[in-house]
Symmetry: C2
Subunit: 194 residues, 2 copies
């Protein structure tokens, strides 16, 4: 029991890891814990639009733990260039440490889920990655491009970084987003050269 308590208090720190996008109508930045919660709900709701049939409970479990490595590394915006191999190495060390707090094989189950998400080679992990890429786009589309503008990101860069994964995991969602991203560009919500 103590090992479980140690684990749940350790992952409490994910509430303090801030991302670049803001929840709608709030002045503060989103944190990775509430983001993980929202992804689980988006995946549930989108299940029938997955590229291929997925085991949705497996997707949900993956999404709930996919960002836990950020407790040691912090969140890195998907548009940052370079350094990804080092960050992923550090995140792996972090989740190995944190899931290692658990006993009786539970930590190993979480670690395998985390690796599956990172590798993105199963239908479930492809769908989970699509949902993860799409959610900040949905928030930005309803927030006047807040994090794109604040971080000087161009339309082309957003499309290049999110389209392949969203298309691979949830093509209907990409169709929905693509026209709205074009409209957002016309609204001037992107940097023109970032």
């Amino acid at each position: 029991m103590q090992s479980i308590v140690d684990f749940i208090l350790e992952v409490d720190k994910l509430k303090g890891v801030t991302r670049k996008v803001k929840p709608l109508g709030l002045e503060r930045y989103e944190n990775s814990a509430e983001h993980s919660w929202q992804l689980a709900l988006l995946a549930s709701s989108l299940q029938s639009f997955a590229a291929v049939p997925v085991k949705i409970d497996h997707v949900i479990r993956m999404l709930l733990i996919h960002d836990i490595g950020e407790i040691d590394t912090g969140d890195t915006m998907v548009f940052v260039e370079g350094g990804w191999a080092e960050r992923k190495r550090d995140e792996l060390a972090a989740v190995t440490r944190i899931f290692g707090l658990l006993r009786d094989g539970q930590g190993e189950v979480f670690l395998e889920l985390w690796k599956e998400f990172e590798q993105g080679e199963t239908p479930e992990s492809r769908f989970a990655n699509a949902v993860d890429r799409a959610m900040p786009v949905l928030l930005n589309l309803n927030n006047h491009g807040q994090s794109w503008r604040e971080n000087h990101i161009s339309h082309a860069r957003v499309v290049a970084r999110v389209a392949p994964q969203i298309q691979a995991g949830c093509p209907a969602l990409w169709e929905y987003l693509e026209v709205r991203l074009t409209a957002a560009r016309d609204h001037g919500w992107f940097a023109t050269d970032g």
Copy 2:
């Protein structure tokens, strides 16, 4: 697709519903979205300690949506006396509205999960309720009784409000908490008459 987007942007508001406990080491109050995420992880980790075997994915789904009614009503501390029937009626109206944004039976599935949690009559909902009652206790035990002190809550009142549900859903967790609640009383982390 638009109905799913409307839903996920509506539930975004749960990130703005604040609770009475603070995440460890942070100055702000916890919100109900990140709380729901943490409960899903606690339930996963505690599965083998459930009073009776539970379908854990069903528990997780229930916990992810159990607080969504608070978008319209706000969070009410479990120690508030009276007015519960009215609050539950208002929460039911809220989740009926919010889940009603979804199409193709998805909203009905969420609504049934929400009602199952509220009724607390299945093994899964009893376990989910135990986890929901226990998490703020765990945070307070590691935060010098922060929300108990701020809200003038006595040891007896905490025990009366959380013991029955935690014992019913996860007896080993209650055993763990009971001794620590006694120690917390000895530390002076409770009001003596609240």
